[in-house]
């Protein structure tokens, strides 16, 4: 198979193959994953004077879930126009998830999102309306020229021009002398003496184009490798459309940290997928009333406007009211019905939204499907903000929607874009099945457990961004990355480098190259991924009990032992994909183990145990913590708000970080170099 020349010959592999070639590098701080969290971590660590190396599976210039752009800068409660202090806003976010949200990184986000954005502005990013395009608009603070989204009174979410933030961050890495190795898929963490549970002293990876083996020795390691996709939903032919985050986010960071003995929490939470079915439109590909499109008017097939209501149930009479809290509220978190989606959330933080009983009213004949997002009905400034600043800067809409639809003739001043959100009168984009779930495509999900230094239980192993338990979104990745970068650099100052264990390095090398020597016909990586996803759909989905979970465990262990070793690869790209699916399998096993450990149902965790049906009993209102110990799983827990008071913990570290970042880089590179 393969792509053929006109004469029928296969193309030779376009890159020089160097399987087995071992490159060894040294770092004070090694950053794994060069997405948003990773580059911010690298920049902060480099500012602290650390020698920094990034290993990135794609190209750092654009890689990561938000590499193509960003439109919202969330929860910047530290911005000058915000009416809500970081402490209050972070607590609201945590409470709105029933306590199951990372109080540490959420507070870091709320307290430093604007501070971080100012740093981006100094790199050349556009963060305010300097051209006065929106002068006088209700969502603009005319003094600072900042634009806001959702709650125009309380102003914690910024609208930004983020389409080029990632290239700017990559350039800053270069300027600060960060060593970036692109197209390297990280495969393992190295621990002192090669023993799981010990201090982390480096990592290994494989080059996705040449197959070369890469070893980095480091005093501190920051995992910023996002979350696993493709756990429940996988389509072999529409792979790229079955995931909200990039499909190559395979949870490899989770898997390698698990093997190294790191603790994880909230791994039992999964949600019915809003995007992840194999029939999904490109996320945001149609019009809607949430997120990027908030607060767009929705009309039915006859042009009849769908009313909006606030948290008090009051029907709103103007577009302006959709961006104001209800009378009973001080502020709201998000709007459009998505503030808490898809968990219950609290009424006190629920934003305005189209009527929640639209489906019933449509079935009763009051509204006629299909529905449309009617930008023509929006005030001029709102229309330009949505089909301009927002759609034009968010990565997954800038080219796929704004450019593609404009090219096809769509005109926001004249045309109404069909909204598949409301095709059946409700907010799911597609008729996804209950078992078509997502672990962390969207929303707050489980991940690596960390302390106030964003360090795991393994000394020297830090985490940032989507890989952290209970964190979420772009500014969370940026702020937690920046904070972790400084903490890791400070840690690195306090320890000596340790040599990796040669046996561990050699063992990992044998493991990663094994798929290249498979000759007998076995399943390919896609078949294995599809099998693993089907196991999760059948035995670890919307309904669970001990027996279903036991079968899930048996099936996954069987796939790991008997099928995964038969999956071969014929080039470095396929090798990367095979290793990814092995990690997806490991992540699935972690999820099943966590589901077995929580013996209580929870609405907030979307966790339905038929054998423990009582929802959210008080004695289970805690974090279930899992880690690998030998061949088994050790289960522990933490109190729900184990992080204590936000401000005192943060203040001292923030001051240390700020001081350390004044050190300056070891060797800055001139801009023109």
């Amino acid at each position: 198979m393969g792509i053929r020349h006109r004469d029928g010959q296969l193309f030779p592999w376009p890159y020089a193959i160097s399987y087995g070639t071992q490159r060894v590098h040294d770092a004070d701080v090694l950053v794994l994953g060069g997405g948003i969290a990773g580059v911010w971590a690298a920049i902060a660590a480099a500012r602290c004077g650390a020698k920094v190396v990034i290993l990135e599976k794609a190209a750092t210039e654009r890689s990561g879930a938000a590499g193509a752009g960003v439109d919202h800068w969330q929860w910047a409660a530290d911005n000058p126009a915000s009416k809500i202090p970081p402490e209050e806003f972070a607590q609201a976010l945590v409470d709105n998830h029933g306590g199951y949200r990372n109080g540490i990184s959420t507070y870091v986000q709320c307290a430093s999102a604007y501070e971080t954005l100012l740093e981006l502005e100094r790199m050349g990013g556009k963060v305010r309306d300097t051209d006065d395009e929106f002068a006088g608009a209700a969502f603009r603070d005319d003094e600072s020229k900042l634009l806001f989204a959702y709650d125009y009174r309380n102003r914690t979410v910024l609208r930004v021009w983020g389409h080029d933030y990632k290239p700017l961050l990559r350039e800053e890495c270069r300027r600060l002398g960060v060593q970036v190795f692109d197209r390297v898929a990280v495969s393992s963490l190295l621990t002192e003496k090669g023993v799981p549970g010990n201090r982390v002293v480096g990592a290994t990876g494989v080059h996705c184009r040449t197959g070369a083996y890469v070893v980095v020795r480091a005093k501190a390691v920051i995992l910023a490798t996002s979350r696993p996709q493709r756990i429940w939903t996988f389509s072999s032919e529409l792979r790229g459309l079955t995931t909200f985050r990039p499909p190559s986010c395979s949870g490899s960071g989770y898997a390698m940290a698990w093997r190294a003995g790191a603790e994880f929490t909230m791994m039992e939470k999964s949600m019915r997928s809003p995007f992840g079915s194999p029939y999904s439109y490109p996320p945001y590909g149609s019009g809607n009333a949430i997120n990027t499109w908030y607060p767009c008017t929705i009309v039915d097939a006859n042009g009849k406007e769908v009313p909006w209501v606030d948290a008090d149930g009051r029907v709103l009479s103007s577009v302006a009211e959709r961006c104001q809290p209800a009378q009973s509220q001080k502020f709201f978190i998000m709007g459009g019905g998505s503030s808490s989606h898809p968990h219950p959330g609290l009424k006190q933080y629920l934003g305005p939204r189209p009527i929640p009983d639209l489906e019933q009213r449509m079935l009763a004949g009051e509204f006629t499907p299909p529905f449309y997002a009617d930008l023509t009905a929006m005030p001029d400034a709102e229309r330009r903000a949505i089909w301009g600043v927002m759609v034009g800067n968010e990565g997954k809409t800038r080219i796929p929607v704004m450019q593609t639809y404009t090219r096809a003739g769509f005109d926001p001043a004249r045309d109404m874009l069909q909204t598949y959100d409301f095709l059946r009168g409700h907010g799911m984009r597609e008729p996804v099945l209950p078992q078509e779930r997502t672990f962390g495509e969207q929303g707050v999900c489980g991940g690596m457990l960390v302390d106030w230094n964003l360090m795991s239980n393994l000394p020297g192993l830090f985490g940032a961004g989507d890989l952290l338990f209970g964190g979420q979104d772009h500014s969370h990745a940026a702020t937690s990355g920046r904070y972790a970068g400084a903490r890791a650099a400070l840690y690195a100052r306090s320890v000596a480098a340790a040599d990796p264990d040669p046996e561990q390095v050699a063992g990992e090398r044998a493991r990663v190259y094994a798929p290249l020597s498979k000759r007998a016909p076995g399943p390919d990586w896609k078949e294995l991924n599809a099998a693993s996803a089907r196991v999760m759909q059948n035995y670890c989905a919307d309904i669970k009990n001990d027996e279903l979970l036991r079968l899930a465990q048996i099936w996954l262990d069987d796939l790991e032992r008997n099928e995964a070793p038969r999956v071969g690869a014929s080039d470095p790209h396929q090798l990367m994909r095979v290793l990814e699916v092995q990690d997806i399998l490991t992540c699935s096993q972690m999820i099943v183990a966590a589901c077995q450990a929580r013996k209580a149902s929870s609405a907030y965790l979307h966790f339905n145990r038929l054998d423990y049906p009582t929802l959210d009993p008080a004695d289970w209102h805690k974090w279930v913590v899992i880690r690998r110990r030998g061949d088994g799983v050790e289960v522990g827990d933490r109190p729900i708000a184990f992080w204590g008071d936000f401000e005192p913990q943060y203040r001292v570290r923030h001051a240390e970080n700020a001081q350390a970042m004044k050190t300056g880089p070891r060797k800055a590179v001139a801009a023109a170099a």
Binding site: E237, P247, S248, T404, D415, M416
Partner: protein
């Protein structure tokens, strides 16, 4: 139909198979899109100066930096699978269109 054409035995290709399209008269084969692709679905064309080859079509995430960062406008564009095309209606006339 050309009886002289050589016919090969080929398996079905992954489908949809054209996530990005190139205009070979504009593209100069600089491979900038190959460099930035998140999923590494593109490889350089063995013929220098020609558009890259989509080697792993089904892995495309449809994110767009390949288009956004292309130095030659119009050389490359996204091509959504047919089953992913979205419709819209012109408010004044009721006419229907699609991507």
């Amino acid at each position: 139909m050309n009886d002289e054409a050589r016919v090969y035995a080929t398996p079905n290709a992954p489908s949809p198979g054209n996530p990005v399209l190139f205009d070979a008269s504009i593209c100069d084969g600089c491979n900038r899109c190959v460099t930035v692709c998140l999923e590494d679905i593109l490889v350089p064309n063995p013929e220098k100066g020609r558009p890259p080859i989509v080697l792993h079509a089904e892995e495309c995430w449809y994110c767009g930096p390949c288009v956004d960062d292309c130095p030659l406008p119009g050389a490359i564009w996204l091509n959504h699978p047919l089953q992913q095309r979205v419709r819209w209606k012109r408010k004044e006339t009721g006419e229907h269109f699609r991507v």
